[in-house]
């Protein structure tokens, strides 16, 4: 099922890239708009080369793309691998979220029936006395 959405290798690269808190913070920043390496390095106590290393990992995983401008090379987030990762995680969640939502309705039905039966019993009991 999941293999039709993304290959195992793609997903492994995405998850490996996301396993680092700095890279997740970089992606969160880029989800608000494109930024240069300098701009990305600013909030972290980290050298520009260290940030560049993280950017390379993100780029290899296809999570970001770099601009052509030789000076600035702005980074841009690419949502597709994230969407694939979310879809993959969603399969199991979706199965049980939908099942539990049906269970909510079904338990409500059962309880309504039970209550109706109890009321009837009470009425019959009163009548008998």
């Amino acid at each position: 099922m999941a293999s039709s959405i993304a290959s195992d290798a793609d997903l492994s690269a995405t998850f490996a890239a996301l396993a680092d808190p700095t890279r997740r913070a970089i992606l969160a920043r880029l989800s608000r708009g494109d930024a240069s390496v300098l701009e990305l390095a600013e909030p972290f106590d980290m050298s520009q080369p260290a940030v560049s290393k993280h950017l390379k990992v993100l780029e290899r995983a296809g999570l970001i793309a770099r601009g052509r401008d030789a000076q600035r090379r702005p980074c841009r987030i690419d949502g597709r691998p994230l969407k694939q990762a979310a879809d993959w995680l969603g399969t199991y969640r979706q199965f049980w979220e939908e099942s539990y939502s049906r269970l909510d309705d079904y338990l409500h039905q059962l309880q309504t029936k039970e209550r109706a039966r109890d009321n009837k019993k009470t009425r019959n009991h009163r009548r008998a006395r």
């Binding site: 997903l11 969160a28 994230l82 079904y106």
Partner: protein
């Protein structure tokens, strides 16, 4: 009103995962809904899937088998054996998904009642991290280094912001 959110907790590198969900009904009723086939048929699986096999010999050592069919005819079957039954609070059973007969897992269902509501906790223990990750991804094998629940939230946030 308690939260109706399904929690999925899977710590990195562990062979088990836990899910948690609260429903507005007393424990006895929830236990019946989880154990009697006439009830299970009415709620297990997404609405677009049909339960074509729903067999359960509900006693210690007894076996169960469920098969769900998608509109395109594709079927997904799983089965196992009951190991422990403590009404109305606890069931332990084995779990095998048809495509992976060698990856048998142990599932524990725990029901706790509070103020007329029931919290359903399931813990699934696999033999390997790969099987566990495969179970959560419904078939995908592969290493996963981040807690699913946290990652799931992060992804949802990021997708929303876009």
């Amino acid at each position: 009103m308690t939260t109706k959110k399904l929690e999925i907790i899977a710590e990195p590198g562990k062979t088990s995962f836990t899910t948690r969900r609260t429903v507005d009904a007393p424990r006895g009723l929830v236990f019946e809904a989880f154990t009697r086939t006439e009830h299970l048929k009415r709620w297990m699986g997404p609405r677009n899937l049909t339960m074509v096999v729903c067999d359960s010999d509900f006693r210690v050592g007894g076996r169960y088998r469920f098969v769900l069919r998608a509109p395109n005819g594709q079927e997904a079957g799983f089965s196992g054996e009951f190991r422990e039954i403590v009404p109305p609070e606890r069931i332990v059973r084995t779990f095998v998904f048809d495509p992976y007969p060698e990856a048998e897992a142990i599932e524990t269902l725990q029901l706790e009642e509070h103020d007329g509501k029931t919290t359903i906790t399931t813990t699934t223990l696999h033999k390997t991290v790969e099987s566990r990750d495969g179970h959560l991804g419904s078939g995908m094998e592969g290493g996963m280094t981040e807690g699913y629940a946290r990652l799931d939230e992060l992804l949802a946030d990021m997708l929303q912001q876009r």
